[in-house]
């Protein structure tokens, strides 16, 4: 089925699932300390944006839809561009008993913003749900269209 509605909702679900994986990665590494002079874990963010289509693909999509979309790259859903490390500085905690502590007794933890991660997790979940609702709505529109002219005498 080459309907753009289903493809758009699917792309949104893919992106939000990937974002959730990135959040899980951050939270899982939140308390992994790094030794002195060792490169530790840096919190990451998923970079996503609208899916841009090339001129040929757009012309093909316009021909399939039967109408022209004038905005460049419109109606192609979302896509993820990749994972980018944030510039968050490490969280320095004074723990002289920790074997990873440096000469001053400080341990560096990744600068994961817990509240921010939790808020982003809830937001990601809501956007995913919205995409599912969008898909179901498009599906019920499709099924309604199947009812046209049904059981006609």
């Amino acid at each position: 089925m080459s309907d753009t509605l289903f493809a758009i909702a699917r792309s949104g679900m893919d992106v939000e699932r990937l974002r959730m994986e990135v959040i899980a990665q951050n939270l899982a590494n939140a308390s992994s300390a790094r030794g002195a002079g060792v490169e530790g874990y840096q919190p990451v963010r998923l970079v996503s944006g609208p899916n841009t289509v090339s001129g040929f693909e757009q012309a093909l999509g316009d021909a399939a839809r039967g109408y022209t979309v004038h905005a460049p790259g419109a109606l192609a859903g979302a896509r993820s561009y990749g994972v980018q490390a944030t510039a968050a500085p490490p969280r320095i905690v004074h723990e002289p008993a920790n074997p990873l502590a440096d000469a001053d007794g400080n341990v560096a933890y990744p600068g994961v913003d817990h509240a921010g991660e939790m808020a982003l997790m809830v937001q990601t979940q809501r956007v995913y749900e919205a995409n599912v609702v969008m898909y179901n709505s498009a599906r019920s529109m499709f099924m309604r269209a199947m009812d046209i002219g049904g059981n006609s005498p």
């Binding site: 893919d14 699932r17 599912v132 499709f142 099924m143 006609s152």
Partner: protein
């Protein structure tokens, strides 16, 4: 099957159209395409999506690595394709029966 009968009927009625064997998976939306091959292409599309859903479910049952929403989307797409093909067939059979009931 009655679909073949209908396809033969429509092909016989379209005398001007070139006699065309059942070409599988013809180009969609091509002008001058007869109804039978269009129907066949649609049925094959539905079959392909059902097979894609089946392989997605198999992959999910084997390793479970695929995201569950992709499996469900494949299943729904297969269901919608099948439903569409079924509705087209229902309309066709209705039309055929309407012709059969015609008093001459």
């Amino acid at each position: 099957m009655s679909i073949d009968a209908i396809a033969a009927l429509s092909a016989a009625q379209a005398a001007a159209a070139a006699p065309q064997a059942a070409a599988p998976a013809a180009a969609p939306n091509a002008a001058g395409q007869d109804f039978g091959s269009m129907l066949l292409a649609n049925v094959m599309h539905a079959d392909a999506s059902v097979q894609a859903a089946e392989s997605a479910v198999q992959a999910f049952a084997l390793d479970g690595q695929a995201p569950p929403h992709q499996v469900m989307l494949a299943l729904e797409e297969a269901r919608m394709s099948l439903h569409f093909a079924l509705q087209v067939r229902n309309r066709l059979v209705e039309g055929y029966q309407e012709l059969m009931r015609m008093q001459l």
